[in-house]
Amino acid sequence: MTYSGVLAAGVLAVLLGACSDDAADLYQYGPNPELPEPSRGLLPNMTIAGQAPWGDQQPIVPAGYTISAIATDLRIPRQTLILPNGDILVAEGRGGNAPALKPKDIVAGYIKSKGGTSVESGDRLTLLRDADGDVIYEMQTVFADNLNAPYGLALVGNALYVANQDALLPVKENLLRIAKGLVDGSVIVVLLVLVSATLCPNFSASLKTERMLMGLG
């Protein structure tokens, strides 16, 4: 887009903005989105979404598709990994527990907890298996537990990498045994060390590039 084009879009946006303060009128799409100016009063603007159970509700799918839950009673599932044999690993856990550095952190923690689920943090990996291929995952078992808010999952060859939120946990013998029994081939479970409390460390890895990329935040 040329400079004049940008200018025209900006002027148009200003004109539209003058007509109405509705966010829908802002140019929030395309290469040059018209973002609202950052603003901060004494108290941050916030809206805490209320908790609501799923009940019998289900996501709406396109015509010709059906939807049904393949697993229930999970404890805060956050990330999944589909293994080569079709098994699904689910990482469960709430995360958090960052130290309160300011009084604000205590207040904010309370406010944020209002919008969270009351389900207890799982801190585990659950394995779902559909052995007979009927798309019903009849097997649901704990693959590894006593983790600390696992999030990132990656399978490189036969090595499964699990990113905990912050802690270093020793690889347990029984964990390896369970793993070997459940997943085809030999599996090495490696818990990555993250030096600081980070939520949702996610990563991807590849044998071809011999690189592992990790996002922290």
């Binding site: 550095l101 300011k102 009084p103 207040v107």
Partner: protein
């Protein structure tokens, strides 16, 4: 000048009241020094220190404020009610300290340098107000105790 019949009613602030007042000054002064250190060094830990010191100051000033309210209704001392050290002036100074301190706590809740320069300015004003309030509070105490 001396009206001896007053002295039973005018005992001045309670010793605990005095301790709370003195603590208020030190905590808000500590917050001010931390803010100055943050202003000079950009080291964020100083603003964390200031945030906690302000909360401490609010607790001490808030409790002292309760004493000041009681003072407001209890004091029959007409002589001192007309002076600078009247219970009302003392109460209002302490109230202003607390209210500005609370606003300062909210300002300090912003992220990193967003608190500047408001945090530093507020901390200076609050430290001065706290000093004045405490000075007047102890002035009342001294006069009462001198009887």
């Amino acid at each position: 000048m001396a009206v001896t019949s007053n002295h039973l009613y005018h005992t001045g602030p309670h010793p605990i009241h005095g301790v709370l007042l003195a603590g208020t000054v030190h905590l808000f002064l500590g917050a001010l020094l931390s803010d100055i250190a943050y202003w000079l060094s950009y080291e964020i830990q100083w603003s964390n220190f200031a945030s906690w010191l302000i909360v401490g100051g609010l607790i001490f000033a808030g409790l002292a404020l309760l004493f000041a309210i009681v003072d407001l209704f209890r004091s029959d001392d007409r002589e001192h009610n007309t002076a600078v050290s009247s219970p009302l002036v003392y109460f209002l100074l302490l109230l202003a300290t607390w209210v500005l301190g609370f606003i300062n706590a909210l300002v300090h809740a912003k992220d990193v340098w967003a608190i500047m320069p408001a945090a530093l300015i507020l901390s200076v004003i609050i430290a001065i107000l706290a000093l004045l309030a405490t000075g007047i509070g102890f002035l009342r105490y001294r006069r009462g105790g001198a009887r």
